[in-house]
């Protein structure tokens, strides 16, 4: 029996803008098993990004409960959430978010800097991670010398460097051509095969097709 890594019960999120309260998530119940490859789909404004932010400890729910690996993480402080992001979460963003003035190797090493790894260890692990995504020859390139697909592979190497349990990919193919998209989705599928939990937000059915399970959202609730 697979272990459930993410368990939401009646989770809500409201945003307070002046006097206007907007209910973005309206009582979600969701369980994701360890090692699943899940696609979160839905039109814009459906709440899928908000859900992903909460799942990845970038944001906190307003109500309800979030159990991560059997631990209640509903009310963690900012520092506790930062520590969890560092140890358990890998991010892949649509806009890559590589630091433009750091080279490829330095970008990938960045999480290890916050983790406090030794410099030799950082270099070795980052080099390996880049070799795994086929960029072992471009360690000293700057991000603007790379194609979009290469940038996203660097970002994936960075997401994997801390050996996280869950990869969150927010529209990872949104800025890529179809060849690069296939490459990136292939890597995500490989990660899933290697036992990682992958949660991908996307509105592209082709991308979602790579996932083993599709969660559809609309107006702050899960529809399927």
């Amino acid at each position: 029996m697979p272990e459930s890594i993410i368990e939401l019960k009646n989770l809500t999120k409201t945003y307070q803008n002046d006097d206007v309260e907007t209910l973005v998530l309206r009582g979600l119940d969701l369980t994701i098993q360890a090692g699943e490859f899940v696609a979160l789909m839905g039109p814009s404004g459906s709440g899928k990004s908000t859900l992903m932010h909460i799942l990845s400890f970038l944001d906190r729910p307003t109500n309800g409960s979030y159990m991560y690996r059997g631990r209640d993480v509903t009310a963690l402080t900012a520092d506790e959430r930062a520590a969890l992001r560092l140890s358990d979460i890998g991010f892949v963003f649509q806009a890559f978010h590589l630091l433009p003035k750091l080279n490829v190797l330095e970008n990938v090493m960045l999480p290890l800097v916050y983790a406090g790894a030794s410099i030799a260890d950082r270099k070795q692990r980052a080099t390996e991670a880049l070799q795994n995504v086929g960029l072992g020859e471009r360690l000293d390139f700057l991000p603007n010398q790379l194609s979009g697909g290469q940038k996203q592979r660097v970002a994936i190497a960075r997401a994997l460097i801390n050996n996280p349990s869950v990869i969150f990919a927010d529209e990872p193919t949104g800025n890529l051509d179809s060849v690069s998209s296939e490459q990136v989705l292939g890597i995500l599928s490989d990660l899933h095969r290697d036992g990682k939990t992958v949660v991908m937000v996307t509105h592209e059915p082709d991308a979602a097709a790579h996932a083993k399970r599709i969660i559809r959202m609309k107006d702050g609730v899960i529809t399927a």
Binding site: L58, D79, L86, F91, H97, K101, L110, Y114, A115
Partner: protein
């Protein structure tokens, strides 16, 4: 984040923007350099002035006309002292030496050379107060003073100016219209009380009064006291009130037409002026550092805004608020300390240039860089970095990672 990584992260991001970093700290550089230059010149001036009054011995007292206190004799004060006062002080006061001087200046010529220089009408005790050696010949003696002899003793430089390498003893010089015979030359003494003693010509005080100036006053009386200096001061005042017929039983100094001061009085006054000057310079410097600090804050705020996405990313991958705060605070501190070091270097350089220029005009000026100035420049630039870097760094640390990642 560990400290070495923090330092590397902050210094890398400054290095990638070298020209901007430099321009940002220019205010600090100028502020610190100004502090160093001002303190250096201030200390140099104080040292120079103290050197002018020091080393006469703590037992030396001066009496001047007017009740104004210390400082060099002023030409605008009613001259009230004369040789009778000096005689009374010598006879009735607790003094080993009493020496009267009348100071003036005049055109002097000898053979084909002529110049304009200081004249000191002195008695035979002058060199007991201002210690100096006779190079050749002799100094003015008691007989010269009582007979108003037309004899002159030359300072070292003026002897060279008038006679070159020739021996001046026995030669004739003309002071204004007064002919005098050179009887001696004094060894080099340097500058004291803001006049170059080596350019000075000594005549008997009586000769100067009667034949040169047609007056009977003396510019100041100096004496060496026996016993407690404060008691000696009071005794000197009592004697002079008596000779000047001043009714002043309560010893109100404002009623006197003379003033008595010791060397330590002069030193204290100068030290007090020096402290006030330093305070003034420090407050000007403080303003320039605040202005520089605001420049740093402004630039750091721009930098935080520009790097919003970087901050978002750093927070997303696990950087804590502390990590971000420290990174930006350290950037600000490194900027200001870098500016401080640069400012100290520039300041020392310009202080040195200034001292070269001053040396050309002021005899005995010394180039000093007070170590306290360097230490405080360091401390101040660090404090400025913390004070003006904290707000931008706090702002960076408080950014919401989701908003920051979306920032365009």
């Amino acid at each position: 984040m560990r400290i070495p990584d923090l330092v590397r992260t902050s210094s890398d991001s400054l290095r990638r923007n070298t020209s901007r970093s430099f321009l940002t700290v220019l205010g600090i550089v100028i502020g610190i350099a100004a502090v160093i230059v001002m303190l250096s010149i201030g200390q140099g001036a104080q040292g120079y002035v103290l050197n002018q009054v020091a080393n006469l011995g703590s037992d030396v007292l001066f009496v001047e006309s007017g009740n104004g206190g210390g400082g060099p004799p002023s030409p605008f004060v009613q001259q009230t002292l004369n040789l009778k006062d000096a005689a009374a002080l010598a006879k009735r006061g607790p003094f080993t030496v009493v020496s009267s001087v009348v100071i003036t200046n005049a055109a002097v010529s000898a053979q084909e050379n002529s110049t304009f220089t200081d004249i000191a009408g002195s008695d035979e005790f002058q060199l007991d107060i201002f210690p100096a050696e006779i190079a050749t010949g002799r100094f003015i003696d008691h007989e010269d003073v009582t007979s108003s002899a037309r004899v002159a003793v030359l300072g070292w430089d003026i002897a060279k100016d008038l006679f070159g390498d020739q021996d001046p003893i026995g030669e004739r010089i003309t002071i204004r219209n007064l002919p005098a015979r050179v009887i001696g030359v004094v060894t080099p003494q340097g500058s004291k009380f803001f006049s170059n003693l080596d350019k000075r010509i000594y005549l008997p005080v009586t000769t100067t009064q009667r034949e040169l100036l047609n007056v009977d006053y003396v510019s100041y009386i100096s004496m060496k006291a026996i016993g407690d200096i404060e008691i000696a001061k009071d005794e000197a005042r009592a004697i002079l009130r008596d000779t000047h017929a001043i009714d002043n039983p309560n010893a109100d100094l404002a009623k006197d037409d003379f003033s008595v001061s010791s060397q330590s009085d002069a030193v204290n006054i100068i030290a007090g002026v020096g402290f006030a000057l330093t305070l003034l310079l420090a407050s000007i410097a403080a303003i320039s550092l605040v202005v520089g600090g605001i420049g740093i804050m402004n630039m750091m705020l721009v930098s935080v805004t520009e790097r919003t996405r970087e901050i978002g990313l750093r927070k997303a991958i696990g950087g804590t608020e502390q990590d971000i705060l420290r990174q930006f605070l350290l950037e600000a501190i490194m900027l200001t300390i870098g500016g401080g070091v640069l400012g100290i270097t520039v300041g020392i350089f310009f202080s040195f240039l200034a001292s070269l220029a001053l040396k050309a005009f002021v005899d005995g000026w010394v180039f000093v860089i007070p170590p306290s100035a360097i230490i405080s420049a360091f401390l101040v630039s660090t404090v400025v970095g913390i004070a003006f870097g904290y707000y931008p760094a706090k702002r960076a640390a408080k950014l919401d990672p989701i908003e920051a990642l979306r920032y365009e």
